[in-house]
């Protein structure tokens, strides 16, 4: 570990993110606790009660109000965070666009959970995919360590002068949020140095310079405003790489825009986000031992999506199975659509789509084996039997 001392601990994903937030010490944290993200606020409000942070928590009457309070506090000039899941994020949805349109670098810990109905509290990516078009930077995390590390990096990315956009750090509900894992914390001092001081842009509390935000913009200017937002998003890609490189120098833990696992010479490739990637890595190893050139691409940065880099990483594969833990009913899964766009210029591998794990349904090693075997078969024949299929569903 270069230049830092770390502490090995055994904590849940929620505790890991709460610890990162304690170390980041935001000015304001408005939230309306919801399963499975509740543990973050449970731990964090204890830090507040114990005087471990300077944060003002605002316990509001709904998630719509939580995000509204985040926007108000961030526009005033504060460093702001919140935590939510599922229906909570869905209720915030209207305000998510306001946060990004005002270019406020708010941090959201999003503990991924299925959307109702039917009512379900378990992990899938329906909430995260639902905020795809809200102009929030989206990072996805395989385990508690990644959730902690990405949270530590989040403000540096969101607050960068070329970016100034809100950011959501995603981890799987229950599978990660409630499981205890061994991981490493960075020291308070190093986090403080890494995160740096926050310099707000045009804060409303600068009363010597009165200003107005959120003015009405008509057809003659609206598109220009939206074009700027896209540019800021595109800029975020380089900033994520730069901040991750700096983080690696501090901790030794390297993060790319996506993780390539035994991908370099892989012919049979799976793509999956978050915790499922852990199971898939084990099975990729097993199939490598059997002589199958299997590999995994695990996206980390979902918005902005690194199309060129992903396309280049997949172009030499023979078959790619994109696994989605969310669905677009009547369409392909959201990750499949991104991968197809990334691969399109290369006339590369045969692509197909599996929907798995909705509402927290387990993805077992044997399920992954079936997918790897089918992908190997597709690599041989050059033809996908079914473009989109639900796996582990009772037929």
């Amino acid at each position: 570990m270069a230049g830092t001392t770390t502490k090995t601990v055994a904590v849940t994903g929620n505790q890991a993110v709460a610890e990162a937030l304690r170390q980041l010490n935001p000015d304001v944290m408005p939230a309306y606790p919801i399963t499975p993200s509740t543990g973050i606020m449970e731990s964090f409000t204890k830090f507040v009660s114990d005087g471990k942070v300077d944060t003002e928590t605002i316990l509001v009457e709904s998630e719509h109000s939580a995000m509204s309070a985040c926007i108000g506090a961030a526009a005033a000039g504060g460093r702001v965070a919140t935590a939510t899941s599922s229906q909570g994020m869905a209720l915030m949805w209207e305000m998510l666009h306001i946060a990004s349109g005002y270019r406020l670098p708010i941090l959201m810990a999003l503990v991924n959970r299925a959307l109702s109905a039917p009512l379900n509290i378990h992990g899938d990516h329906s909430d995260g995919m639902g905020m795809r078009d809200c102009s929030w930077i989206q990072l996805f995390c395989e385990n508690a360590q990644e959730a902690y590390d990405n949270t530590i990096m989040a403000y540096r990315i969101a607050e960068h002068k070329d970016v100034r956009l809100p950011i959501a750090v995603n981890m799987d509900g229950f599978i990660i949020s409630h499981s205890i894992e061994s991981m490493q914390f960075i020291t308070d001092e190093d986090v403080k140095k890494f995160a740096g001081d926050y310099i707000a842009m045009d804060p409303l509390l600068d009363i010597d310079h009165p200003k107005s935000i959120g003015a009405l913009v008509l057809p003659d200017y609206y598109m220009e405003h939206k074009r700027v937002q896209h540019e800021a998003m595109i800029n975020a890609k380089k900033v994520v790489s730069d901040v991750s490189a700096e983080f690696a120098k501090m901790t030794g833990r390297k993060y790319e825009l996506f993780e390539s696992y035994r991908l370099e010479d892989a012919e049979v490739v799976l793509v999956a986000l978050n915790s499922a990637a852990g199971t898939i890595k084990d099975e990729v190893d097993r199939y490598r031992e059997k002589g199958v050139k299997a590999g995994l691409l695990k996206p980390r940065l979902f918005r902005p999506f690194p199309y060129e880099e992903v396309g280049a990483a997949l172009k030499n594969a023979k078959a790619v199975c994109v696994m989605d833990r969310a669905d677009s009913y009547g369409g392909y899964g959201p990750m499949f659509m991104e991968i197809a766009s990334a691969v399109y210029p290369h006339r590369g591998p045969v692509l197909f789509n599996k929907i798995y794990g909705l509402g927290g349904r387990d993805l077992m090693p044997l399920d992954v084996d079936q997918v790897i075997e089918e992908t190997a078969e597709v690599a041989k024949t050059g033809k996908a039997k079914m473009m989109k299929e639900y796996i582990t569903v009772r037929n």
């Binding site: 406020l104 200003k211 107005s212 935000i213 200017y221 220009e224 405003h225 700027v228």
Partner: protein, 97 residues
């Protein structure tokens, strides 16, 4: 006026200059305009208090008329005007007549 391109916009579309709404003339939205009848005016300044658009002009604590660049003709001033002996000091008249 030359319109800004997307690279020239102020960050987040924030309006950094205070009070510039005054430069945006909205008087043309009006279909009825208030007329001041000075001899019926008791200088109570109800019109000035009630005007939602700060379009009643006052000098030395006396009502002096209307800012027709911003008055939208809502008629609240005429409604609230107590006048003198039953005669209103503000009446609404159709524009262009």
């Amino acid at each position: 006026m030359k319109q800004m391109n997307w690279k020239e916009l102020p960050h987040a579309g924030t309006v950094l200059k205070a009070g510039n709404a005054n430069e945006y003339k909205t008087g043309s939205w009006r279909s009825y305009k208030p007329r001041w009848i000075e001899e019926n005016c008791i200088q109570c300044l109800f019109c000035w208090i009630y005007c939602p658009d700060s379009s009643v002009t006052v000098k030395d604590e006396k009502m002096t008329g209307f800012d027709y660049d911003h008055c939208k003709g809502c008629g609240i001033c005429a409604m609230e005007c107590p006048g003198k002996k039953g005669n209103k000091a503000i009446v609404m008249e159709e524009e262009g007549k």
